[in-house]
């Protein structure tokens, strides 16, 4: 038995514009029917649940309902332990902390900042590439830009050979798709494909890590594999699941942020024009995009450790929660004119990167990538026009974004 709400959320018909559905959902901040997940759609409720220590991210705490469409089998029996995304403290904290050592403050405060020039080079290279293909009547901004850019970045960062991209792309796509809750799929089949992909990806990364242990470089993979800090070092399995997480998350989210961003700008030519004249505007633009069109629309894997009350609804212990971040971001109780794209908005504390201990690990990198990508596209594309509106979307309801973004332009500025 499948809940009507879940069916609607995953229904592809709602993909291009899920916001009317979310508006409907918000009328009941906590929706639930049957045995399935409790769906939370309002800003303040989601925000407080993300900071609520009675909520777990560990799939083991879910009551085995068998009705959970997520295919919890994904982790079980897999050769890789769950990544910190699906762990609670203290294991989550330890792994995230160790992963952060080579990535950000306080130990590596300049890592993301120092990549700026390199990122700039990648962006220029890709836009130059669009120019040299010659066909400016139909440019696919996903395949020609928004996808290859973050992939190159995450490969550089991790130290994964870019030429292996076709191999891990398949696994990454399978794994990303497995995040998409499909109420009608055969859960065993659904889980099996993901498990295989995860295992193959793990084996591929294991080879790389072994190599890095012998010849460490300054990439994150080397540092994760050889690091020895106050928390000790990661086990090989932990390095594998962590690097798999970084590879996939660095892959499948930023592409949507950039694509959703360009789509939104093309729909708001006045803002696009302002960005062209003032690249610094990319900072508030990206923040507003994370609110208005967040690349991660919902978090479908939290559960209750105890009975809790949310917005007057008593949720039993062991229940599954879906937190619809994108709906919270358009909650009129939190934001004035929430359906308006407004980069001049003040006091913007969106849910686009989550909140609490699981808030987006790669946020500083994602922000920098998106700011750079959007400001350069705005500056260099001459008179860009959207060819299809809405463009064709990916199936995924969780990691939502256009599969293609066909545009035309008059030329490419140097």
């Amino acid at each position: 038995m499948t809940q009507a709400i879940l069916r609607e959320i995953v229904d592809y018909a709602n993909r291009a514009d899920p916001y009317p559905l979310y508006e409907e959902l918000r009328k009941t901040p906590v929706s639930h029917d049957g045995d399935g997940p409790y769906v939370v759609s309002t800003y303040y409720e989601i925000q407080s649940l993300l900071h609520d220590p009675r909520i777990s991210s560990d799939a083991k705490n879910l009551k085995a309902t068998g009705d959970d469409p997520l295919g919890q089998g994904e982790e079980e029996g897999s050769t890789l332990p769950p990544s910190f995304l699906k762990l609670d403290p203290p294991d989550h904290d330890r792994l995230r902390r160790m992963t952060n050592r080579p990535f950000g403050p306080p130990h590596t405060p300049r890592r993301v900042h120092d990549m700026r020039e390199e990122l700039g080079g990648l962006v220029s290279g890709l836009i130059d590439g669009i120019a040299t293909t010659g066909n400016l009547d139909r440019v696919d901004l996903v395949d020609q830009f928004a996808y290859p850019f973050p992939v190159s970045v995450i490969c550089r960062l991790l130290g994964v050979p870019h030429e292996d991209e076709p191999r891990f792309h398949v696994w990454a796509e399978t794994l990303a798709a497995s995040l998409d809750p499909d109420p009608d799929a055969d859960p065993t089949q659904h889980g099996k494909g993901a498990m295989d992909a995860r295992m193959e990806l793990g084996m591929y990364l294991a080879g790389l890590i072994e190599e890095r242990r012998k010849n460490p470089g300054d990439d994150m993979l080397s540092q994760l594999a050889t690091a020895d800090g106050p928390d000790g070092s990661m086990t090989t399995m932990e390095v594998l699941s962590t690097s798999a997480l970084l590879l996939i998350a660095g892959h499948e989210t930023t592409v949507n942020l950039i694509t959703n961003g360009m789509l939104t700008l093309l729909r708001h030519p006045d803002v696009l024009q302002r960005l062209r004249e003032d690249p610094a505007l990319s900072v508030p633009i990206v923040e507003e995009l994370l609110r208005y069109e967040p690349p991660v629309q919902l978090l479908p894997q939290r559960s209750t450790l105890t009975e809790i009350e949310v917005a007057g609804v008593t949720i039993p212990k062991g229940a599954s929660l879906w937190l619809i971040l994108a709906s919270g971001n358009r909650d009129p109780k939190r934001f004035e004119n929430p359906d308006r794209f407004d980069p001049d908005r003040k006091d913007i504390q969106h849910l686009g990167l989550g909140s609490g201990i699981h808030s987006c690990f790669g946020a500083p990198l994602a922000r920098q990538e998106a700011q750079l990508a959007l400001s350069e596209l705005a500056r260099r594309l001459e008179n860009p026009q959207l060819l299809e509106d809405p463009p064709p979307y990916r199936q995924n309801a969780v990691l939502r974004g256009p599969r293609h973004l066909p545009v035309s332009c008059d030329g490419i500025r140097p």
């Binding site: 900071h51 220590p53 009675r54 909520i55 203290p90 904290d93 450790l305």
Partner: protein, 468 residues
Amino acid sequence: MTAQRSRDGALEHLKREGRIVVVGASLAGLRAAETMREKGFAGSLTMIGDEPYEPYDRPPLSKQVLLGNAVAQHTALPRRRAIDADWRLGVPATGLDMAARRVRLGNGDEVEYDRLLIATGVRARPWPNEEEGALQGVFVLRTRDDGEGLQRALAAGPRRVLVIGAGFTGSEIASACRERGFDVTVAERGSAPLVGALGGVIGEVAAEMHRENGVDLRTGVMVTRLEGDPAGRVRAAHLSDGSTIEADVVVVSLGAQRNTEWLTGSGLGAGPRGIACDAGCRAFDIRGIVTDDIYVAGDVARSPHALFGYQFLSLEHWGNAVAQADTAAHNMLSESADRRPHLWVPAFWSSQFGVNIKSVGVPPMGTELLVMQGSLTERRFVAVYGYQGRVIAAVTFDNCRWLPFYEHQIETTAPFPPPFTTVDRRPEGNKPVPADFPDPSIPSHGPTITLSGYSPADRKMTFTPARH
């Protein structure tokens, strides 16, 4: 909400051409001034400050500045907007004539006001022996000049630094000095660092932090005398246990005193504990009657808080200064029906020995403590304080992302011990233990929150009703 129109137009007149005087040109004073302009106050605004500097930020003085990562002169507070004020800097306010609505200044000037905001804050409690306190190498740390002087002394590479008092500031100083590789002794009258603010259980964790980071921590002792060399430089300190510590830099970190002396005799309800005011930041006079034209904000204010038994709280908290200034400024320019109460949940943070410490609520009110998440031994935890069956405060060490949840527990007077389980619950979180606060009537470095409504010290007060 639509603003009510004043019947006699007094409020419009005040907004258009009134005179507002702010005494205290620091965080609270500046933020209040900004809010007033934001709300359309177009009259004259005078900012009075005893220091010669434009408003600056203090938290960096005991952290980044001591580490040498920032310069004391460069900690000016960012401005949210222009305030177009008449600045009277480097001159203290010395008196207040409530009847004539006039503030007297140290240079003999007098400034008239229609509304007055007092945000004079606190100053560091000096070393009790003036002569010893004047020795070269003896510092307190509150102002920019203090920070600059201490920074210079540390740059000279002292052989040993002695910190007297292990409250938050003292601990931060010790931490910064250790990080720079200096030998550090900390002398604390209480049983552990931070004990006045967080109690003995958490104090023990702090004590371990000090010791593990190489601080020579002496607890349960007092410094009885500072000794100088013939050139007038400090060279040693004598302790109540008979020991002597040789040090060439001594930082006196014995808490703060409220800057209210200038109000003596003015008729305002001001004293060593601050200036009493109502929840709307209106000051009381000494008869307990609320004034209409004098407001208070920041460290120097003490106001009743519904959530904490209506006790008068005075808070030396950065966030409180900002929030209270905002409320005071709003109320100064509002009709009585539009005024807002300042019901901020106390919150502060500190950073020492690489650990981020945050707290919400009023820990010193707590009698019991429960480790809800993490573990004291790992120094990563959330602990909640219980008071008469409810959650009254929470403290985190390297675990602050959960704090909003516990703040909500405090705001909703949730039961203690909390009847639910959480992620990362360990065996030590199964049973509440006594929070172990020292008797508040015994002096120590003092907590950053002062509860004064029901303090035992008030028992000596006798109430004599007037006879008609």
